[in-house]
Point group: C2
């Protein structure tokens, strides 16, 4: 609990109505989109400016109160669970699109802007913000940056980190700093911008963002290819890249995912098939046409049992929307859906999918796999029930084995979700212990008293945990 | 001077012939490509592996000996001058191209690989490493990463930092760490890869690099446009971007640069013109043709007095080679050539060029300006004579004013050269003092005893300087 004095000071900083501390109000901030984690904060505060954030952080730093910065809480790593209580800093009031600069191709926004709203605003001006994380209709840009969010267009266009040009951020000391800006080239000092991307609220609170934009591609076309096995789908992806085509999107779904997606969206997919690829290319019309034709030919040459080119942009959009609904569709099957994002170099995709199948069978679990095949970024998804402790133990063992398999194949434990609580016990597998120590020394350089999102990313033995068992 | 014991230990680590300490040998490592800086190291050591680097760093850390890591020394910021003596760590023996992975589109190389050699190796396989810093025929990949090097293709393709996917690096403690890898998506912990890019050898020694590659563009075409003033050239650049075309290269030269380049390369440029743009587009042939036609039309609509499309790839290559020769050409005019890289957001280009002209006139100096117009990355270049102390003082004042002007226009003090010695007194203009303190705390997290390239990037008052006056 925060003291009456601290509460009064918070109210003086942001106004009475922007400080919540009644249990019913706190409950909504005790969880995020990650299953099986929950903890109550002491208060929720809604700042409206960098100055207010600065005041809150100074106060929290003085009183050693944890600060959990949060947008819409759509992350899948438990990164915004207030496991050590403290203040949830809800950034959703700072949701202004300050500027869309058509000369420099930048957008400057508050961290609370919803990703899809930014898409809409820039596309109306013929511009393009490529990162499209699965939760983009709800997630915020600040949250996307905190988690280093990815999406379906990563293969051709990169991910959130590739579009953050400048930041305003606040340290626990209350200092308001800036890094980067609108310059396409800038090497003045260390790259603080990219260090903050993916730091999950453990280094600073981001209060303003300058993003890179591109011209909106002229057109796009979509193609689906169905396979009687997994290997041919993976081989098709390799062959497309080897033929020097980089599609905007190359999505993969296994049979289990195809079934639930088809049931959910009524697409009439050929459910006897073992896997499918959903490929989109964008760009100038003549190039898109040529690439789609070449991709169709490559798919057939690599064992596709069926290849269909979407007849219209609407049909293409419908197919992609169905793929976007994969998580929602899968989550209807069982009470608890655990979505992972083990990622491997593109060339190891088939091996990784087979490993996931083998592990699911070994532990008697239902795991469907879909994901961004072009990136090697898979989402093995387990449908389970958190009330079944025995099964959950098997789920945990299976995912541990999946992480080890990804690392063995040169991959990583998380491609686009982040570490948070969910994967911090496995981070050392990717980075090694010495890197983790170095990262913690970097954290101390920003946050010497450790108030920013304590207990996330790094495993600390002596944490004070107040987890509410649901 | 290093002690006989330390010398013997270095010799034991790398072999006798890879430790130099005779004055005549040291002299060659007392300077880099930056005018007016020079200082003798105590020794030059040539490691052949990460293990050798580890041993050298442990030894240096124990004895508090500065380590100045260096490739070909082509940097223009004084970043590899051993101002506090110590050991120059020459990485040129670690120049193997370990692997070009055509499935994952990556190259894994030693830091000592010469940039142009990498270009040649990957292009022979139909692949493309876009970063092309001016010194690419001599510079090394390790040096490019240390400085965050840019080049002519930054507008469309980004710069070195956008192509570094993974690193192996060694801390002063001797620990050999890895970050990133071949995964297109990877958010496992803080982004150490990008923190090391542009850190100028102050954080760690890079011993292996994994770079992102692209398919080689099918074709390219080049166009030149001449202008009777500066503003029309800048307006053309803005209009091209506003029409949603992103050319691979948009280079600018003012009249002074045109004259010396023409004299140097015999191009027959129309020297009565005040400025010119050199524009290259690459990609699929039909798109390149269409873009070049549209760019030609836009240039004419925005006041170009002449527009010429290169008739062949050879003619285009000749024009670009002439632009690449700008620094060499200018350096023939006077004994000392000082090349800066003040950078502004693209939309402020014309203002910045005019500011440079005004400042040159104010201080009675000959400053020619050329650079990467698409990036707002200018190279105001002063032809002077370092033996003329009075003029050099005016040069220093003029550049100080140029840096202030860049910052005032939302720009930065260095777009692609780095801070080093040359710009460390101005870094605070861009970052603010609090950011500099934070960066120094980050440095301490890597290098607690401050042995790595001491005195670079940050202004430290109590440095031990042993500068040899030339």
């Amino acid at each position: 609990m925060i003291s009456p004095e601290v509460k009064a000071q918070l109210q003086a900083l942001v106004g009475d109505k922007w400080v919540l501390d009644r249990p019913a109000e706190l409950y909504a901030y005790s969880y995020d989109a990650t299953p099986m984690y929950q903890a109550l904060p002491d208060a929720v505060v809604f700042p409206a400016s960098a100055q207010e954030v600065s005041g809150i952080l100074q106060l929290a730093d003085t009183h050693q109160i944890p600060i959990i910065t949060r947008g819409s809480g759509t992350n899948l790593a438990g990164s915004t669970i207030p496991t050590q209580s403290g203040i949830v800093l809800n950034m959703n009031r700072m949701n202004q699109i300050h500027e869309i600069d058509t000369e420099n191709l930048t957008a400057t926004v508050g961290p609370g802007v919803v990703t899809a709203n930014l898409h809409q605003a820039v596309e109306a001006m013929g511009l393009f913000y490529p990162p499209d994380p699965g939760s983009m209709r709800i997630s915020t840009i600040g949250g996307n940056i905190a988690q280093g969010a990815g999406g379906m267009r990563g293969l051709k266009y990169g991910v959130t980190k590739d579009y953050v040009m400048g930041l305003e951020y606040v340290l626990p000391s209350g200092e308001i700093l800036r890094c980067g800006g609108k310059n396409v080239k800038d090497v003045a000092g260390y790259d603080m911008t990219r260090l903050l991307v993916g730091s999950e609220g453990t280094l600073a609170v981001i209060t303003e963002v300058t993003l890179k934009l591109l011209p909106l591609p002229e057109t796009k076309r979509t193609l689906v290819a169905y396979y009687r096995n997994l290997v041919d789908a993976a081989k098709t992806v390799e062959a497309i890249i080897a033929s020097k085509i980089i599609p905007a999107t190359v999505e993969f779904m296994d049979q289990g995912t195809m079934k639930v997606v088809d049931d959910f969206a009524g697409l009439g997919l050929p459910l006897e098939m073992k896997s499918m690829l959903l490929i989109e290319q964008d760009g100038p019309a003549e190039v898109v046409d040529r690439d789609i034709e070449r991709i169709a030919r490559i798919a057939k040459e690599h064992g596709a049992a069926g290849v269909e080119v979407a007849s219209s942009p609407e049909e293409g959009a419908k197919l992609l929307a169905a793929r976007r609904a994969a998580l929602s569709a899968l989550s209807r099957l069982k009470p608890t859906t655990i979505l992972e994002d083990a990622t491997v170099p593109r060339s190891r995709l088939a091996e990784m999918v087979e490993e996931v199948e083998r592990i699911a069978e070994k532990y008697g679990l239902q795991i469907c796999t879909f994901g961004h095949a072009g990136d090697g970024n898979l989402h093995p998804t387990c449908m389970t029930d958190e009330r079944n402790r025995e099964e959950i133990e098997r789920v945990e063992k299976a995912f541990e084995e999946i992480f080890h398999a990804a690392i063995r194949l040169g991959g990583t434990i998380t491609g686009e979700h982040g570490v948070g609580l969910a994967k911090k016990d496995f981070l050392h597998l990717k980075t090694g212990e010495a890197s983790l120590e170095l990262m913690q020394r970097i954290k101390a350089a920003f946050d010497p008293n450790g108030i920013l999102n304590p207990g996330k990313i790094f495993t600390v033995s002596n944490r004070r945990r107040l987890v509410v068992q649901r």
